[in-house]
């Protein structure tokens, strides 16, 4: 077996059938994050007064009611702006690191997972609050929530790979700190 083939094999985590840090695995998630960023960015611009009307094809003035509600102003900046920053963090942490970052940059994979998971959870919570508290639906808010939840599954396999790598390093007696920074 050639050295190149051995090198390529090392990029698949032990006991795995594929490499979760492969670009073909990561770029779709990054693409979704950019779509989410565009949607949330548009909604944030409306909330910040960039335009007078917001696109809403199905639910009458639902989007306007949701986007100007008390819930949307709980934080110092509008909630869609928080969402847009979250998507940006997803895209950036999704794209940094090479195709074997599950072991060379575990901390980045963990930050990526921490960015993707809670963003999805908060999106789902907001989807519940729209009809239950505000009696309104917002089409683009729902679209954004679907995007954020769609990212969770394909992001978490890489997190699993990195956490397994850290568990193995600890079992070998290596310090967790060194392992998470990517010392082999």
């Amino acid at each position: 077996m050639s050295r190149v083939a051995l090198g390529a094999m090392r990029e698949v985590p032990p006991g795995w059938s594929y490499n979760p840090s492969e670009w073909s695995q990561r770029l779709p998630v990054v693409g979704l994050a950019l779509v989410g960023f565009a949607i949330a960015g548009y909604l944030a611009l409306f909330q910040l007064g960039g335009f007078a009307r917001v696109w809403e094809p199905f639910f009458g003035d639902g989007s306007r009611r949701v986007l100007t509600s008390g819930i949307s102003r709980v934080l110092p900046i509008p909630d869609a702006a928080v969402g847009a920053l979250g998507y940006l963090a997803d895209a950036v942490t999704g794209v940094i690191g090479g195709r074997n970052r599950w072991r060379t940059m575990p901390w980045m994979v963990v930050v990526f997972g921490v960015a993707v998971g809670p963003l999805g959870a908060v999106s789902v919570l907001l989807v519940i609050l729209q009809p239950v508290v505000l009696d309104a639906w917002c089409t683009l808010c729902l679209a954004s929530a679907v995007v954020s939840v769609l990212m969770i599954g394909p992001a978490m396999d890489e997190v699993m790979g990195s956490l397994q790598h850290l568990a193995r390093a600890r079992a070998r007696g290596m310090s967790l700190w060194r392992a998470i920074l990517g010392a082999a």
Binding site: P13, P14, Y18, V127, I128, A145, V149, I152, D157, G173
Partner: protein, 123 residues
Amino acid sequence: MSAGTVARVVTIVTGLWLMAAPVILAYGRPASASDRSVGPLAVSMGLIALWQATRGVRWVGLLLGAWAIAAPWLLGFGGAALASGTGAGIALIGCAFLRGEIEQRYGGGWRAIGAKGREADDS
């Protein structure tokens, strides 16, 4: 489509149904609030469990289904909302048990993280 994917799609459609049912079947609170809470959670769970690495999330369907079935009795509503919620609950619980094929290998999966960590603690 594999059996695992079908079960996730049924879960997602069931969640969407719960979100739309208050309008389609014309019922209000408390049934509508219950269904519009369970619905988005079911859709999310179905979407996450589509992927083999996170297929375990499907078990949340047991909780959601149990709530959908129990809610009419706990919150006191009947009629179409009861029938819809009961049907949805049965579907969610049934789908939770359908894992489907896991074709990829994950080196012990999520369990390997805790187990290896404990081994290190013991040594």
